[in-house]
Symmetry: D2
Subunit: 103 residues, 4 copies
């Protein structure tokens, strides 16, 4: 299970190892998009084109968040529930994550 480890108070590690490459590729693409928007703004490109790009980046980030969230639930949350009986703290944390993403 070493490839799917995760949370403990002292050693909180990500559960997204198997998707790490996909997430990093996604982040690099987003990074490129953000720098593309910077160039557009420098060149004073049309507002609507800038806004469309901002929306596209927001969507791409939401998609990445869903991957991390799925891995987290499958890894960290599942592990916390199995090990602690209920994983109360992990669940509260998860709901807080939801709140930030939904708002």
């Amino acid at each position: 299970m070493k490839d799917d480890v995760c949370i403990s108070r002292t050693n909180r590690q990500g559960s997204y190892q198997k998707d790490k490459k996909k997430i990093l590729d996604g982040l690099r693409r987003i990074d490129g998009q953000v720098r593309g928007i910077e160039r557009m703004v420098e060149e004073e490109r049309y507002c609507v084109d800038v806004l469309d790009q901002i929306s596209a980046v927001r969507m791409a980030l939401a998609r990445l968040a869903l991957i991390v969230l799925e891995d987290h639930t499958r890894g960290c949350v599942t592990r916390a529930v199995r090990e602690n009986g209920d994983g109360e703290e992990t669940i509260r944390e998860l709901v807080e994550v939801f709140r930030k993403l939904v708002r």
Copy 2:
């Protein structure tokens, strides 16, 4: 009105000149945040910390979008309405921008 020019079918320019520096600073900060998330993922940092950062970037992008949107409405939309009588195409475009941001 040269500093607040904008849309025409042939020459569609941004209406955000006065906020250009603020928008570029915001985009650079977002760029830095995205690269920060890349490093977190490379180090396999805890999922929740990654998700919190993703939410923060999404919020920052929404705030930038609102600045561009405000400048666009005040500049391009106002101009289109004044010049064309109704600015129908610009309005349809604005609603489309909005649809993408809300979803």
Copy 3:
């Protein structure tokens, strides 16, 4: 233009007359959906089914908002710009509406 009147400081009226029936039908459908969710909760139906219904209502409300927003921009905003030269107050109001819907 009587059917498309709207804003004035003393007499602020909606610009959505032509879509009034469509908006009211949408609201009644949403009203029915909300009462459907109440029944689901009373019967302690499965959380995921309740959540799916809540998402559906949120989507339906966003769609209605876009109709009202489009009519508002085409009616009130256009009129304010034409009559006041810039319609500054109306634009500020519109941006505030955006902010509330995007968040």
Copy 4:
């Protein structure tokens, strides 16, 4: 654990019993707000006031969704993980719920 039961393929029940009253009260308030918006539209009230009310209802629904989501995670998801070892199906379902709420 009778008051916190939930999912099984044959008998999928909600995990929100302890918040049932709060959720129902919230839904009734939302129901009242939706009917309030219907009256506003019938009276052709100002677009911005209608849009503000729609935003308020969307926010109220998001808050209710977070309550149900928290109870679901604490109840159904926890139970599925404990009983099935991983609760794979429940986790996939949760991510799907989430996708619908974020979009």
